[in-house]
């Protein structure tokens, strides 16, 4: 029998979480080491799965199917194709670096890592799910630990409010999508939740047009789509560093991915009907998000809103329903995930040293923490879509796809690049260059080796993809072909 690599990836975090919970609470180092070992193991497996995916063969690979509730057609079924393989890898990387960065957490680290890993299991589970019920099952698992992680370990000022807002938004989204999914299940008459079977169900176009908005928006809430993006910056800012990384880096992709997997792929005619107006919403995301990011004075809010803007690009790429747009969106999910994890890591490191995030009060940190400054600049260049970095590889196809389908949207959307450049450069100048304010002169220190390791890993990935796109472009292209077949067959 083939080694069940995907199941092992999915269940590694939760098994680790159980082991961690069994360690006595005072033995904090053992908790952290266990967490790191589990994260490293999951990362290695996801790298292995990613690179052993056979692009020539295409389709879903590493399939595993087990009956779960046969009488209702529910099964545990996993597999990866070109679309979700990079996302599994992304989750592995963010989980690993997130553990590195959370080393300093001293308040109940046992519970922290247990909840974080429960979240990771949920995320892995959604990315590899091929069964609609299973997708919801893991989706909800990914939602509720966020509440505890933010409320307990978050920023004292806003954590209770932000945690509740985020959880309720996401829960509302998912239950709305759930009703849509149940409608699909009963209407198809197939008696199965298998998404590969539901793709072929041949829903009538009226049904697709009615159900599509529920399913798409239900999930796109987590992708941060305008006007349901409001939870996201608040949530990012209130969350502790590792959770912000997870949240912006991985969870928002979860929403975009599920909107694609369940919305666009199962209801292609619905997508074709609704996308012309949805693209306008994503345009608001892209431009308005960037604009709001520009006027923030809180370092973390800047990054929070930049996520809204960049996730808008992902959804916009999907909304073009074209090969280039989809390809770019697939790449952008990965690229933005790593980039924003890097950003939040940097913000967290700066905040831990100086306990403020007001940009005007900061300055000159290049001298004290050079690695952090370089990492932020790398992230910034990615964010602006500079060639040689992964952001360019991802954004260029999106704009190509846009130009071919909705040229006027492309024209307006490119404005966001300029705005992005302005706020990124402003932060680099203000926070990392210039003179260190007197109040921080003595006690600010460089970050730890573990922190540096995390930053180096993240930056290396961003540059690696940018310099050598064939690492990722062919695999995502192969995934896009499957989606286009579904759209073309409609």
């Amino acid at each position: 029998m083939q080694f069940p690599i995907l199941s092992v990836i999915v269940f590694t975090p939760i098994v680790a979480a159980i082991i961690i919970l069994l360690i006595p609470g005072e033995r904090k180092t053992e908790v952290r080491v266990t967490a790191l070992a589990a994260a490293a193991f999951a990362l290695l497996l996801s790298i292995w799965a990613y690179f052993s995916y056979d692009i020539q063969a295409g389709g879903y690979q590493f399939l595993e199917t087990y009956a779960w509730l046969p009488s209702a057609g529910i099964s545990y079924q996993v597999g990866i194709d070109g679309m979700n393989a990079p996302l599994v890898l992304l989750t592995g990387i963010v989980m690993f670096t997130g553990v590195l960065i959370s080393w300093k957490i001293d308040d109940r680290p046992r519970e922290f890592f247990a909840f974080l890993f429960l979240l990771a299991t949920g995320v892995f589970g959604v990315f590899v799910a091929l069964d609609l019920f299973m997708l919801f099952f893991f989706y909800e698992i990914a939602v509720f630990p966020m509440y505890l992680l933010i409320a307990i370990w978050g920023w004292k000022e806003t954590r209770e409010y932000a945690a509740m807002k985020l959880t309720l938004y996401l829960f509302i989204g998912s239950v709305v999508a759930l009703i849509g999914a149940l409608a699909m299940y009963f209407t198809s008459g197939l008696g199965t939740f298998n998404m590969l079977a539901l793709e072929q169900a041949g829903f009538s176009s009226n049904f697709q047009i009615i159900v599509f908005p529920f399913v798409f928006f239900g999930f796109a809430v987590l992708g941060g789509i305008f006007p349901f993006h409001n939870w996201s910056p608040d949530g990012h800012v209130a969350a502790p560093t590792a959770v912000s990384m997870f949240h912006a880096g991985v969870l928002m992709k979860l929403g975009a991915f599920a909107a694609l997997r369940v919305g666009i792929m199962l209801l292609p005619q619905g997508a074709q009907f609704h996308m012309p107006w949805i693209i306008v919403l994503t345009l608001v995301n892209v431009v308005y998000g960037a604009y709001i990011a520009m006027v923030q004075s809180d370092f973390k809010y800047v990054i929070g809103f930049s996520s809204v803007s960049h996730m808008g690009l992902v959804l916009m790429g999907f909304a073009t329903l074209s090969q280039d747009g989809m390809l770019g969106a697939g790449l952008q999910m990965f690229s933005h995930g790593i980039m924003t994890a890097l950003f939040f890591a940097v913000v967290g490191m700066v905040y831990d040293q100086v306990h403020t995030r007001e940009i005007p009060r900061l300055g000159g940190f290049r001298k004290i923490m050079p690695v952090v400054a370089v990492a932020f600049i790398v992230g910034g260049l990615v964010s602006m879509g500079m060639p040689g970095f992964s952001g360019f590889v991802a954004e260029f196809p999106i704009f190509m796809g846009l130009w071919a389908t909705y040229p006027w949207v492309a024209i307006i959307a490119v404005i966001s690049i300029v705005i992005t450049a302005s706020y990124i450069i402003r932060i680099i100048t203000k926070v990392f260059f210039g003179k260190i304010p007197d109040e921080f002169n003595d006690h600010v220190q460089d970050v730890s080796v573990l922190d540096k390791l995390a930053l180096v890993v993240l930056s290396a990935v961003l540059i690696g993809i940018g310099v050598y796109p064939p690492l990722m472009v062919p695999i995502v292209s192969s995934g896009v072909e499957h989606i286009l077949r579904l759209l073309g067959g409609a």
Binding site: L21, G25, A67, W68, L69, P70, S71, A72, R108, R110, E111, F133, F136, F137, F138, E140, I141, V143, F144, Y147, L148, A151, I152, E160, M164, T167, L168, F171, I172, V175, V176, L178, I179, L182, A183, Y185, F186
Partner: protein
């Protein structure tokens, strides 16, 4: 039309009920002979005895299940009744464990006898196939519960709870009895399974049938604490001894649903559209009101009371779908709900016994005082709010699926909106437990062995039911099949 002859298998079929009575008598004797420092062990006797009864029931009584009437048409031996009877015995066993170390009740033999008798009554309720039997069973259950609710004689709140429960119970039961007598008058039979046919044969007009049904539903609505007959629940739960509050909100409510489902589906299928619409409205009101009122509660027992009202609303969705899937979802929902809510009240019993308060605000710092107890509450409350990988998710999923299948998408939407409200107040409690600090947080909480066992079984049960749910659905499918 029925064969009322006695056959030997009928004795095996009611073996659990016979043994329940024997166990009650054994404890009554123990209460007389045991010296004072051994009297707590009556709880162990009850719990272990109930475990053995469940085991014997599964080994022997299960083999006799044949979907036929027995004992002169008084009882029906089917899977539906059997699954409920096992749930009641399980709930009673857990309640016995939780009662042992609870002050002023744990050492009293008559306490255990009373709730064994009420368990017996519930078992008979689930099996009743005759209106008279049904009424006697309901009263057996209720009268013992009235006493148990007011068991703490020197506590004003408990006395108030007992009295209030009695008044409400007596009133609704009278109305129900009137309804039952009308049904007999119109049809000339008391057998539930003969009723539908006779009503049809006699060409009975709708008005008397629906009218008497409405009266009967008053009694049932009280048992399941559906709006507008929910008023008693918060006061009674708050005042009763906490293990009894748990028992009331789980086993007693499940018993109410068992009779409700059987009577409606077996005796009144001819007017199904009418009671379907009525109960759909009731479900909406019950869910919404229960959840909205739970939002503002400061006392955890009152909050759980309103939450259990809300859950009755979700369960009703399964019934108003009037389908095979609907009844299946109702049965699985009740099983998971019983397990989950018992755990919630169990944890509240432990905390209340040590900190001497049921105010939610006093739960601050609990996760530091006792990480495991906090974890049990985490699992429980998340399961109640319908989160995976806990049991609550799959059963909510099943109930909403039943509504969507029955083309009642609006009801499913009402249900999911309500579960959002639910999530809010369950998370608010978890916030207090995990986030807020208190001065006592260095003092660890001692959890005695019976609590440890009970909470351990329930927590593992909640997680297992949420992950490996195929066996649960197999049982529920059989239960549903035996009614259609």
């Amino acid at each position: 039309m029925f064969n009322f002859a006695f056959e030997p298998w009928m004795v095996i079929a009611i073996l659990p009920e016979i043994l329940l009575l024997v166990l009650a008598l054994v404890i009554l004797v123990c209460d007389l002979v045991l010296p004072d420092n051994y009297r707590r062990n009556q709880g162990w006797i009850a719990a272990v005895g109930l475990g053995i009864i469940a085991l014997l029931g599964i080994i022997f009584s299960r083999t006799t299940i044949n979907n036929e009437l027995m004992w002169g048409g008084m009882l029906r031996n089917d899977w539906f009744a059997f699954s409920f009877r096992m749930v009641f015995i399980f709930a009673a066993g857990i309640t016995a464990l939780f009662s042992m170390d609870t002050p002023r009740i744990g050492k009293r033999g008559d306490y255990y006898v009373l709730f064994l008798v009420s368990t017996l009554g519930m078992s008979l309720m689930a099996m009743s196939a005759d209106l008279i039997m049904l009424y006697v069973a309901i009263e057996t259950t209720s009268i013992s519960l009235y006493i148990l609710a007011g068991y703490l004689k020197h506590d004003d709140k408990s006395t108030e709870a007992g009295f209030k429960y009695l008044l409400f119970g007596a009133l609704t039961s009278t109305v129900m009895l009137y309804g039952l007598s009308l049904v007999y008058g119109f049809t000339g039979t008391t057998n539930i399974y003969a009723l539908a046919e006779l009503a049809y044969v006699n060409q009975l007009s709708l008005i008397p049938l629906i009218g008497s049904l409405l009266l009967i539903l008053v009694g049932f609505g009280f048992k399941i604490s559906a709006v507008p007959l929910h008023f008693w629940a918060p006061d009674v739960y708050e005042g009763s001894p906490t293990p009894i509050a748990g028992f009331l909100s789980t086993a007693s409510k499940a018993a109410g649903f068992a009779v409700l489902v059987r009577v409606l589906l077996a005796a009144f299928p001819t007017v199904a559209p009418y009671w379907g619409a009525y109960l759909a409205a009731l479900a909406t009101a019950t869910m919404t009101l229960g959840n909205l009122l739970a939002l503002t509660q400061k006392n955890i027992k009152r909050m759980l009371a309103y939450s259990s009202i809300a859950h009755a609303g979700y369960v009703l969705i399964g019934l108003v779908a009037i389908s095979y899937l609907g009844v299946t979802s109702l049965v699985v929902y009740l099983i998971v709900y019983v397990v989950t809510n018992l755990a919630a009240f169990g944890a509240v019993t432990v905390v209340g016994r040590i900190i001497g308060s049921d105010e939610i605000a006093d739960y601050a710092g609990l996760s530091r005082r006792s990480p495991w107890l906090a974890f049990v509450l985490l699992i429980t409350l998340l399961s109640l709010s319908g989160m995976p990988p806990f049991g609550g998710f799959i059963v909510k999923f099943a109930v909403f699926a039943a509504a969507v299948q029955a083309d009642m998408i609006w009801l499913a939407v009402v249900g999911v909106l309500n579960s959002i409200i639910g999530l809010y107040y369950y998370l608010s409690v978890l916030k207090v437990i995990y986030l807020y600090r208190s001065e006592d947080e260095d003092k660890s909480l001692e959890i005695t062995r019976p609590y440890l066992l009970g909470l351990g079984v329930l927590s593992i049960g909640i997680v297992l039911l949420g992950i490996v749910f195929a066996p649960l659905f197999t049982v529920a499918n059989r239960a549903a099949a035996s009614l259609f």
